[in-house]
């Protein structure tokens, strides 16, 4: 089945700094989804990207889907302590395949 690799695995930032997590696949993806899981919580859907080169924004979060539809990124501008959690990308094929996740820690 398809695999998605996510980097970095962990990221510590100072509050106010930017943060980016990357998701890469060796195969072309039909779409990519992003989820956020707060510590002790369950994954919560953030967004879905479908089109090549698509860019979507949600307040301080910017999501991109690569032109070749093999990679995606999530960028957070000016992180806040409320951004703490693990961000997962997930590729939808026959099933939803989750990346390993990037755990974001924000120091106030």
């Amino acid at each position: 089945g398809q695999q998605v690799m996510q980097i970095p695995q962990y990221q510590h930032v100072q509050e106010g700094e930017d943060f980016t997590t990357y998701c890469n696949s060796s195969t072309t993806l039909s779409n990519i989804q992003w989820y956020k899981q707060r510590p002790g919580g369950h994954p919560v859907f953030l967004i879905q990207l479908v089109k090549s080169g698509e860019v979507k924004k949600q307040k301080r979060l910017t999501f991109q889907f690569g032109e070749a539809k093999k990679n995606s990124s999530l960028h957070i501008t000016a992180t806040q302590t409320t951004d703490v959690g693990t961000y997962f990308c997930a590729a939808l094929g026959n099933m939803l395949t989750f990346g390993g996740g990037t755990r974001l820690m924000v120091k106030p």
Partner: protein, 113 residues
């Protein structure tokens, strides 16, 4: 959107016993799934719960170990059978409409002693 509830939220079980986890969705959904997540790790799909037919299991998971029921479009159960300490994990139910986002339940934290 859909709201998912799971019971129990956590349990501590002895090896060799079985635990059934219940998942209830507040609306009819096409797809229901069961995942396992070790603390600090990603999610691994156990199976897709099919309404009215046998569940579809992913590689490494078998029906004898993880029997699943889905009697209707809003409810599913996962049983973890003949448990061993290696089964200690968080089990998550999710629901979706196939091509769109999945909504996750709060999870069941299982500890096997």
């Amino acid at each position: 959107s859909a709201v998912i509830s799971q019971k129990p939220s956590r349990d501590i079980c002895q090896r060799g016993t079985s635990l059934t986890i219940q998942c209830q969705v507040d609306s009819q959904v096409t797809m229901m799934f069961w995942y396992r997540q070790q603390p600090g790790q990603s999610l691994t799909l156990i199976a897709t719960a099919n309404q009215g037919s046998e569940a579809t299991y992913e590689s490494g998971f078998v029906i004898d170990k993880f029997p699943i029921s889905r009697p209707n479009l809003t409810f599913s159960t996962l049983t973890v059978s003949n448990m061993s300490p290696e089964d200690s994990s968080i089990y998550l139910c999710s629901a979706g409409t196939g091509t769109y986002e999945q909504y996750f339940g709060p999870g069941t934290r299982l500890t096997v002693t």
